[in-house]
């Protein structure tokens, strides 16, 4: 237990350090964008949270697929934990996107494809979480959620194709010919993505542990060990 606690402290410290570095780079290292000004700096967190949001969905797909193929509660827990953590990040993506849109486009929300895709992604995560809470039987709930996670993930590439086919007013970060951001901006973005990915990993790990502890507690209660153990 001690080593487990130590690992968590070390991971939290690592996340704090890399986040401080990312913050420092966002405000003091990355250059001021010529057209949008300082508001563009939100882009580093916006893109990083979007990346983690989509990555979380991939892990949910992976966990769900493995649960269907192999069974095993651990895959189900992984899928569930990743969906909940991913939902948090995709919500952050939508909020930071709106904060960014107002000064740049003059509106908090515009029906631009990538914003719609993020909103659809958010809706998929919400549907997944609601589905989990709406099935009484735990095994069946896990199965349904796994199927939903797999099918939902299949629609993600289709959404991405939509980006190329629709006219877009979204800033193009990566164009076909090369990057439209400067090397310093790119470095900052990569550090921010690393910071968010580590944070995702820590939150995922914590959520997985929480679910495992819940299972453990439920098993103890069922066998009566918990009551016996606390009777004295």
């Amino acid at each position: 237990m001690k080593s487990k606690g130590l690992t968590e402290w070390l991971l939290a410290a690592l996340a704090a350090i890399i986040f401080l570095i990312a913050l420092g780079m966002v405000f003091f290292y990355a250059p001021r964008e010529a057209t949008m000004g300082d508001v563009q700096r939100i882009f580093y967190f916006h893109v990083a949270s979007a990346w983690v949001g989509f990555f979380g969905f991939f892990i949910t797909f992976l966990g769900g697929g493995l649960y269907l193929l192999r069974g095993g509660r651990r895959w189900d827990i992984l899928a569930l934990a990743s969906a909940e953590v991913g939902l948090t990040f995709i919500t952050m993506t939508l909020l930071t996107g709106m904060l960014w849109a107002k000064p740049v486009w003059g509106v908090y929300w515009t029906w631009e494809p990538r914003l719609i895709i993020s909103a659809v992604q958010w809706a998929l995560y919400m549907a997944y979480v609601m589905l989990r809470g709406s099935v009484g039987d735990a095994e069946r709930g896990a199965r349904f959620a796994a199927v939903y996670g797999v099918v939902a993930f299949v629609t993600v590439p289709l959404s991405w194709f939509a980006i190329r086919w629709w006219r877009t007013i979204h800033p193009v970060v990566f164009s076909g010919s090369g990057m439209t951001i400067t090397p310093k901006m790119l470095t900052t973005l990569l550090v921010a993505i690393a910071a968010f990915t580590i944070l995702y990993g820590i939150l995922l790990r914590t959520r997985v542990h929480l679910e495992q502890e819940r299972d453990h507690l439920a098993a103890l209660r069922r066998t009566g060990d918990w009551e016996d153990g606390h009777a004295d």
Binding site: A123, V135, V151, T155, F161, W165, D215
Partner: protein
């Protein structure tokens, strides 16, 4: 062993049942009787351990196993919107019963239901539904009959009649496993009797004296005494649980597997028959879609050019919203009396079950569109009645019906089924709706078939992907439902 999360439903159950044997299962509520029967019926898989039926591992859920199984569940596994005769005709078809109509007539007569065979099952009393459920379980002449509390809801005469029928088919070589809460009457005397408590077999011996057994049962269930297992005369095989191939010729239906497309058609025909009788799905979808068109029209003040511009979006929204109603109702009808479980028990390919349900739903939605397209033409003053437009609506509806069928099968098993269906479905069909609306709009703008190629291709890719994934995952959804 069978566990549900932290709960253990069955543990250490190890038994061998000989062909032609009658085994009675007793035990308090929650002892694991139903779970054991569901595992034997291949409706649930053991978490660990193996079950062999007719020499085959039941984990494979082989159609050869299911064709030889008859299962009477707590739920009737009948369709309320069909008559008794239609229910038996449907099950006769999916089991490939060669003399289906004659066999159905015999079963209806034997269970005293012939006079009411053309009445809807929804009008039957509990006892009549139970008798019809017995007829369904016996229709295909199973070699192994699993009965979960078959006497529930039966009056005295019906119970006696059922006992006689069971004794008869048992004497003809059919193996019977029956769970019950009462051992009164002579039906169970001399029969092998198992007592389950907290998922474990705590007694396994022939029943010689019902009164003496009742006293023993109370002590066993209260945990005041423990029986010695294995019981005398019953050998537990070293290789685990086994039900060997019968040594006697049993009167089992030996027909071959129903061809894949006939499996699909049997399900579609059943759904169409139920809908022809009730018109519930089409009625609800049509009224809802028309209401949606009207509300959009006056809420957005759709006139002239605005109406023509908004027509594709409004039409697809009306179809999508009405579609969620139809899909939900279609699967709720299936789920109401355990119809999906009935389909899973039958020797049907899960992919055929999915395609049958999806095709039925597609036909309902296309029927709705046959009415909506002329209506949209009138309301929005646009040209919707041409082959290209019909092609786009067909392409858009295929994917919607496919993924909708999968999700409706999930939603009907949830607590919030009424609200969850659109929440689950609409985010998944967003790319489909975007493409369908764009393609419809493109045709209305005069871009022609070639001008909307990108959206057509997208619809094809979406449909192929979603139908394939839905077919692959549908088995997991309906498993143990």
């Amino acid at each position: 062993m069978k566990t549900f999360g932290p709960r253990t439903a069955l543990s250490g159950v190890n038994l061998r049942v000989e062909a032609g044997e009658w085994l009675t299962l007793v035990g308090p509520n929650g002892a694991g009787k139903t779970t054991l029967l569901r595992i034997l019926a291949t409706l649930a898989l053991p978490t660990s351990g193996e079950v062999h039926l007719f020499g085959l591992n039941s984990r494979r859920r082989d159609t050869a196993i299911r064709r030889q199984l008859g299962f009477l569940s707590h739920r009737s596994l009948l369709y309320d919107d069909l008559t008794a005769a239609q229910n038996l005709a449907f099950y006769g078809r999916v089991y490939g019963v060669s003399d289906g109509p004659a066999r159905s007539a015999v079963m209806l007569d034997r269970l005293h239901l012939a006079a009411r065979q053309d009445d809807l099952v929804a009008t039957y009393s509990r006892g009549m539904q139970q008798r019809l459920a017995v007829a369904r379980a016996l229709l295909h002449r199973p070699r192994l009959l699993l009965l979960d509390e078959p006497y529930t809801g039966l009056d005295l005469l019906a119970a006696e009649s059922l006992t006689r029928l069971l004794a008869e088919i048992n004497a003809a070589g059919c193996t019977i496993l029956l769970s019950t809460h009462t051992l009164e009457g002579g039906a169970f005397l001399g029969r092998r009797t198992l007592v389950l408590r907290q998922g474990r077999v705590i007694h396994d011996a022939p029943l010689n004296n019902a009164t003496a057994f009742a006293a023993l049962y109370r002590r066993l269930v209260a945990g005041e005494c423990s029986d010695t297992l294995p019981p005398p005369g019953v050998a537990l095989p070293a290789d685990g649980n086994a039900l060997p191939a019968p040594t006697r010729d049993a009167p089992t239906e030996q027909g071959g597997a129903l061809p894949f497309w006939r499996q699909i058609w049997a399900i579609v025909a059943k759904d169409l028959a139920a809908e022809m009788r009730t018109r519930e799905i089409l009625g609800a979808m049509f009224v809802f879609a028309v209401l949606a068109l009207l509300i959009f029209s006056f809420a957005l003040d759709l006139r002239g050019a605005a109406a023509r511009a908004a027509a594709p979006g409004v039409l697809w929204c009306a179809i999508a919203f009405a579609g969620t109603l139809g899909l939900s109702r279609s699967l709720a009808r299936e789920q109401h009396s355990g119809g999906l479980t009935g389909l899973l028990l039958a020797p049907l390919d899960p992919a055929a079950i999915f395609l049958g349900k999806a095709l039925g739903n597609l036909l309902f939605m296309l029927t709705l569109e046959i009415v909506l397209l002329p209506l949209g033409t009138l309301l929005f003053d646009v040209s919707l009645l041409n082959l290209e437009m019909v092609g786009i609506f067909l392409m858009g509806t295929v994917g919607y019906a496919a993924v909708g069928t999968l999700l409706a099968a999930i939603a009907v098993n949830t607590r919030a089924r009424e609200v969850l269906m659109p929440i689950l479905l609409l985010p998944l069909v967003a790319p489909l709706l975007i493409a369908a609306v764009r393609a419809t709009g493109g045709l209305l703008e005069g871009l022609g078939w070639a001008g909307i190629a990108v959206w057509r291709h997208w619809l094809v890719v979406y449909n192929l992907l979603i139908v394939a994934v839905s077919m692959l995952t549908f088995g997991y959804v309906v498993e143990d439902s």
